[in-house]
Symmetry: C2
Subunit: 582 residues, 2 copies
Amino acid sequence: MKNEKLNHSCSHLLAAAVLELWPDVLPTLGPAIENGFYYDFDFGNKKVSDDDLQIIEDKMHEISLTWTNFEREEIEPKKAQEIYKNNPYKLELIAEHSGEGETITIYKSGNFSDLCRGGHIDPSLIPIKYFKLLSLAGAYWRGSEKNRMLTRIYGTCWSSQKELDSHLTMIEESKKRDHRTIGKDLNLFVFSDLVGKGLPLLTPKGATIRRELERFVVDEELKRGYQHVLTPPLAKTDLYKTSGHYPYYKDTMYPVMKIDDEELILRPMTCPHHFMLYKSSLHSYKELPLRYAELSPQYRYEKSGELTGLMRVRMFTLADAHIFATKEQAKQVISEVLDLIQDVNSIFGMTKGQDYRYRLSLGDRSDSKKFYKDDAAWEYAEDVLRNVLTERAEPFFDGLGEAAFYGPKIDVQVKKANGHEETAFTVQYDFVMPTRFDLKFIDADGKESQPIVIHRSSIGAFERTMAFLIEKFAGAFPTWLSPIQVKVLPISEKHQQYAMEIVTKLRSAGIRTELDDRNESLNSKIRDAQMEKIPYMLILGEKEMTAQTVMQRGRNGKQSGPFSLEEFISNIKKEIDDKLIV
Amino acid sequence: MKNEKLNHSCSHLLAAAVLELWPDVLPTLGPAIENGFYYDFDFGNKKVSDDDLQIIEDKMHEISLTWTNFEREEIEPKKAQEIYKNNPYKLELIAEHSGEGETITIYKSGNFSDLCRGGHIDPSLIPIKYFKLLSLAGAYWRGSEKNRMLTRIYGTCWSSQKELDSHLTMIEESKKRDHRTIGKDLNLFVFSDLVGKGLPLLTPKGATIRRELERFVVDEELKRGYQHVLTPPLAKTDLYKTSGHYPYYKDTMYPVMKIDDEELILRPMTCPHHFMLYKSSLHSYKELPLRYAELSPQYRYEKSGELTGLMRVRMFTLADAHIFATKEQAKQVISEVLDLIQDVNSIFGMTKGQDYRYRLSLGDRSDSKKFYKDDAAWEYAEDVLRNVLTERAEPFFDGLGEAAFYGPKIDVQVKKANGHEETAFTVQYDFVMPTRFDLKFIDADGKESQPIVIHRSSIGAFERTMAFLIEKFAGAFPTWLSPIQVKVLPISEKHQQYAMEIVTKLRSAGIRTELDDRNESLNSKIRDAQMEKIPYMLILGEKEMTAQTVMQRGRNGKQSGPFSLEEFISNIKKEIDDKLIV
């Protein structure tokens, strides 16, 4: 992590300031995180609010001037226990560290000292000066809901004012792009207490984006030889016991439902369903590679604290597929999958190497608990994946021990609006399930043989993709994805009739159109359409009505025209059909 | 029911024959059903098989000659108990009837008498002669899985040989059209023991039909002003308690799933989800009628004995919608719904009045347990529905007491391949839920007002629609719905290359095409394509290759051409786009 030591040092400064202001507060832990730090405090009965952040920050600046070093001191556990006798959190940490035989260390700067394993800058060389406290949040002690809720203060620290400013601008920008905010402003999705946590409801506008995405994925996959299927989003637990998923996933699966003599469970993945479909008939080598795809609803229990808008939900629909192939076909199949992923990503305006890259997630031969034991199969599969990536000259890095239990995978690592990199979805090589499910095909010699399976997505979960696209485009979607593509703005009531004719023609051309017939000024109509990020406004006044034309205004403010309606339709249709980003 | 008395009389004859053949068998009940009858027996240890049906039938013919009447005798419960002292089933019936103060009657013909409430023909006038035993099935005593499994023998009886023959032909025909048989033959869907009962898996072919149907419905609805939304197929039980559905549906709902502090349940209907979405923002009268539509997955527990292929499943997707409107708009809204239903039905080749008609399902003012109490609202709503049907001169009949608990409805009654009429789906007028959910809109005077809600489907559940269409077309779907639309048949290996070019061109024109490049004779290729009910074969030999043409053969055997490929594509595209039935 960049600036890790500086940020961690700044967390000490934060704790020092808090304790000087409120000596009864109990400090707990204060690590550096990506681009910042936090410190968790038990504030007792004191209610701390956003207003306090400035007070704390001022105190930090004051104290900072007095700090010249971080002085390390090794102490006996006994002594540490004595120092922190009123702080149960630190006592818990001391007990753990001393139990593990570690040396207990304390770091002291100015009047403040903290139990700490180290990792600081030298304040005489690098001043702890360019920082900002960002926010307050609740956080359970050690992340467990069973423990007391602490107060977490987030901050960020840099080595120059310029770096700090640029980071703060980035945060502001990414807040504006937060899909939860934009989703609310543009009325794309809502949550309901009566429906349940992590279960978004898509409004007509949100559902339009979803439908466009779904049809795009399905059509694109069909073109590339995938066969879409439709399987039920639940199954008997026996199915997941057969697949071997059950022990790995049961904590994140929904509860079992008993129906008559069956135990049913909502599915956390599609693979076993596709295997059952594959097994329902005989297959010849001539059919391979056989590609089953599905828009697959899946259910996973996420802790309520981790639920985040559309990004992290309890039910999602994955653009899923399982490709049954011979070992020899694997390389070609995976290469075609990467083609698909890259073509789709470029439609979304994402540049390879910049907006996303790959992680080659490998197994760990020494961990046969986490990874199925079959060294030769792992070697073969990892070679296939590495060769595909290398030969195609893809940007990738290795992730040791990041594989699935049944084989290595290629993860698509996407950079989000807030700068963080995240695994969007994966391409997996599976040599375990085919054995577990006894999958077969008849080879060219008429004998039974076993296929391998490539598990893959093309765009990941639709919910996440939507969240990602909302943030990427800050709600100003490419026209093909825009819930409303054109808004027709008659200048006054006299042009209403003409406007309605235009609306009817646009709609029958399949263009999603709205009419703004409110009794408002043109300027306020334009402002509202711009707020809604509608790609095109058609402004209709006297001149346009007489000449039977339309005046076009983009959401970027660019005005053009007059055009005949036919010309406008032909232009926008091309933009939609070609899925252009303009 | 037609021939009800004759069929019931024949069930006596069946029981007489069985008891004469196997005196230890215990007879239970033998009612008439539509176009036939059955009788349930406890055969004890005797294994009865299809081979026995002929033996029983012969015995029935023998006995029938001796029957001249059904002699009614009233007897004391005590005496009845004495007669049936070894038959616990009859004893249960006797106890019930005498408990309800009914007279116990016995009907005697020849040497056979049976506990019976009557309803027979006079065998001296109408001979019980033109009958046929159809099948054996297991059936629980009184339909409950907790009871003993009995053996049910089905039969049918008519007043002439001609009628019997024509009925048997119809049965044969409908067996051939049974969607389960065709579904297997054409590989459209499968079931899996590991997945669970009543949960079909659609193969690529089945999923293609489903996708075409879904896109057709969505596009058609969007054109008519519906707004598609997407809501989660589960919710907290609280939602169904608020809606008032819970007490009515809880026995057919899936079990509750506890997640943290939430009790979740898979939804048995969409209404409350759409209400929550409606409530998530303010609505003006200008937005009404507001039409929320969804392809909505729903879960209902059906008894395992009632599960039937795609016709009766435990999870289905309903083409659902809820229209929020003013009372005054209701009539117009419902009329537009009927337009949609009729347009869709005509695309499926269904003629109104012949293949389907409407049932006006009314409430019952005297039953306030089953129907929400608000006489004025019922009167108003029923009038609206009746007026729409009458003014449009629709074929309909009344169904007293068939309404939903929250209002009257129009049921779409469809005639199935086996001649039975069934409710395919409904259009409901709801004045109860808007109050329960406190739905509002701002009226023209700026005041809060309550909308009514029209619940409706456009084609019902996709699973059922598919089952219905499979049976209607006996698998020979219209081209737009056919999983494979064209099969290309090169006459010999020399024409393979040309065939592949044709396949590529057809596919890039968006036509679902397969190549039969097996080393088989043309005749056997044609036979196989015909078995698969593929609309068009393109036969390519020397002549076609030289002239760069194609020879077309329909699945009906009609050959035409030669055509240029462009001409063929343009013809078939028109057929597909216009959704023609040819």
